[in-house]
Point group: C2
Chain length 307, copies 2
Amino acid sequence: MAIITLGTMAFDAIETPFGKIDKIVGGSATYVAYAASHLTNPVQQISIVGNDFPEEEMNELKSRGVDLSGVEVVPDQKSFFWSGKYHLDMNSRDTLVTDLNVLANFNPKVPEQYQDAKYLMLGNLMPSLQLSVIEQLRTRPELVVLDTMNFWMETAMADLKKVLQKVDVLLINDSEARQLSGEYSIVKSAKSILKMGPRFLIIKKGEHGALLFHQNEVFFAPALPLEEVFDPTGAGDAFAGGFIGHIDHTKNISFENMKTAIIVGSAMASFCVEAFGPQRLKEISRKDIELRLEEFVQLVNFDISLV
Amino acid sequence: MAIITLGTMAFDAIETPFGKIDKIVGGSATYVAYAASHLTNPVQQISIVGNDFPEEEMNELKSRGVDLSGVEVVPDQKSFFWSGKYHLDMNSRDTLVTDLNVLANFNPKVPEQYQDAKYLMLGNLMPSLQLSVIEQLRTRPELVVLDTMNFWMETAMADLKKVLQKVDVLLINDSEARQLSGEYSIVKSAKSILKMGPRFLIIKKGEHGALLFHQNEVFFAPALPLEEVFDPTGAGDAFAGGFIGHIDHTKNISFENMKTAIIVGSAMASFCVEAFGPQRLKEISRKDIELRLEEFVQLVNFDISLV
């Protein structure tokens, strides 16, 4: 039993108020895999790269229990490339360049040995490709998690609404929740989105934490107050990887355990933003993760019996 | 032993996306008193009103244990009047009218029977008046809490910096923390402000909750996700009233107990925004408060032993 993850494996060029990097490995599936593989394995990757994706990166992922047999390598093309510049508040950014390259003709194929996966993490990608992976699986996974973004709401809303009907958990940020629902209030947005298909909705609010909605219940996960957010790229994917990694590690999809999974996801996101690219996700140890989780416990711990 | 509260008692005219009201009782001290008196008494009020402030409002406050002997009534003038219009996001507003009236010549005097107060809540008001009250007290209260706003940073920064050196707890919102410190990062802002005098700093983030900073510790209090914020006026004052009311009720100024006090303050703020003016703070019962506190416990409760 395992997790299947679908998403991009790519190169990014990133500029933040703290620095600039011309080329670093990125992509939603890369971040998900690095985060999830701290918690469980195998992580069964579905993605596409060109002839330029580094051999050592592939080996690094394999050494962490990431199965790359679902990653197509196109010999005569380049990997997807994205370039962006963050504003001072780090919550907004301008996309400078998007070179689809191999992504233009990506047609994800689920390898036979992935068929029994218990959990499916659909990373941020065209909704039609996310749907294709769901449809290729002969047995529906116990939990299907979907990450998406405003870009797909603007360019592929019909496909997105179709795939929403087939997932259990949706991960989006607060402005995307407003866009998808047409409601300004986050609580009203959540109620509206929970009627579109997903049973669980996670609304990410960056430095303000995340909310989990399910039926009439709500959980508020804090974000760790950080002195500096060095590079937010991939934080949402690291969150997703931590979330699904914890779910697979514990094999428990209750609301209670999803709360813990969100804290694990938040911890992974808090590491991710400390350096450019997935660097910190590669460096951290089990001990680092445990200490970080303890920080989250302390952060929100209070004694109401004092009232 | 008691709390002294300093602040305005006033009339407001309020417009929000949900409605409009031409004249309703308001003022920072009014909200603080209504919130705090649910938790403790007496609340020893210092304020000023004109000949138009309703007798029945005074009686209502008195019946809740609010001592009004420090409230000056000016027979030939009107009470302070503020009028504002909230934007759709409810986090920003335009001030339409500010008629100082009695406030123009306010010179707060601490009545003799207030001299032994254990706690001092300096509600949002001119920093020079806040300082005057501190200086009139012969014995320094065990805890001095200061609320202020961006307006005083723009018009009376020198006075504000003077009073900051004499307080224990500062309450401000996130944009005010940035303005006061000149730092964009909230964590850096906090470090900088904790060098200006206060030992404790509470940064309110509206719907995103509040942060408490003390030495190297930090606590994150959630805000209750609400379907509708009907009228945010006075929410910050209700928070302050709940905070200081809990401190006086428990007579405990430890960091641990301040966390709980912030949750109590957040609960009071969550009631306050449900209707125009202090209406909801008048209506709620002890049972309502207990149920709301339990909602806060559930909201952030997670089990990290599952990791």
